[in-house]
Symmetry: C2
Subunit: 204 residues, 2 copies
């Protein structure tokens, strides 16, 4: 299959998040209208996105939730739990490890690293904070391909280089700085300053 | 001036963040090539974005940093410090209040609210955690138009309704759920699960 374009991926991720949340409720099917209500993505777009993958709802019945979830999770490769490593055991790192939503969506933070000797060896929730210099060795057994970077900007590039060296393939970067990664490694940046700055424009 | 399209806004916010970071260094000008190196946005795009606002670099010299910063900050309305209110004094809220990068970029979290009586009255860094039911009254004097929502998903919509009622115009939402806001109120969503799910696709 061709590469899925990024905006489609983002919508699929949104559908999947909501389908995961439906798990606990006793529902078998969902309509495109209900999906629009829950996600804000319009029903026609939802139907179009799914038909692209050969999924079709039944008129008057909708989409089977379990099947749809399975199918989108396959496309996004989240059917199985993924080990994730975190670098940066500060406030944000702590918020991420303590956030049980990640686990529920098949992302399991299995190790947390820091370079601060006052933190190494201490607990971050149920994890022991490890020395970032042991990252490569530790990941030989952990086998994580996903990493989260939650360190200050000046440290970010060095951490990314270490992660790449340790076999990480995709990185979620919270450091407010542009980082470079070699071909074959994908980086997504989340920057709180940037988000607020964009919003600020709409004030008047 | 016409509304600036979102992708342009996001790039302008990136330039501005970097220009703010240059403040401490003793530099007067920046070239489009140096901007590309620092932000990852290519030099031609940078020049094009600025020419749209009537800003032109001087060949061989580049752009005057102070002028450019001032001009972009005016467009994005971040020349003056903006008061921001936070709802949700959990781990993420604590990370945000403790993050001094926001203040450096003219966003000042002036109040933190929660609905948990074990938290209300306690300190979150230098802020006293306030009762979310006092939000509207408190914002009469604070005058914040920007808010950050860092509460669990089931509470998010109610919080957004209260913020709108209190005069907030733009909202950065970290709750992993779709929220509704009336016309004239702009919401941006940051969802960690979604970010990881999108990245997961690139594994193979």
């Amino acid at each position: 299959m061709n590469r899925v374009p990024l905006p489609t991926l983002e919508r699929l991720a949104t559908y999947l998040r909501y389908l995961n949340e439906l798990e606990s409720r006793e529902m078998e099917t969902i309509s495109s209208a209900a999906m629009e209500e829950a996600t804000g993505i319009n029903a026609a777009q939802f139907r179009k996105d799914l038909s692209y993958f050969g999924e079709f709802g039944k008129p008057g019945i909708g989409y089977n939730i379990a099947e749809l979830k399975q199918r989108i999770a396959e496309i996004l490769k989240t059917e199985h739990e993924q080990p994730v490593i975190l670098v940066g055991a500060g406030n944000l790192g702590s918020a991420l490890v303590g956030y049980n939503g990640l686990r529920r969506h098949n992302f399991n933070i299995v190790a947390a690293f820091d370079n601060n000797y006052n933190k190494i060896g201490r607990q971050l929730w149920d994890l022991e904070i490890l020395d970032v210099n042991d990252l490569k060795t530790a990941n030989e057994s952990l086998g994580a391909k996903i990493a989260i970077v939650a360190v200050p900007a000046p440290a970010a590039q060095k951490v990314v280089d270490m992660l790449v060296e340790a076999g990480v393939k995709v990185i979620l970067n919270f450091a407010p700085t542009a980082i470079r990664a070699p071909k074959g490694v994908v980086v997504r940046n989340v920057c709180f300053i940037q988000e607020l700055t964009v919003l600020s424009y709409y004030l008047d």
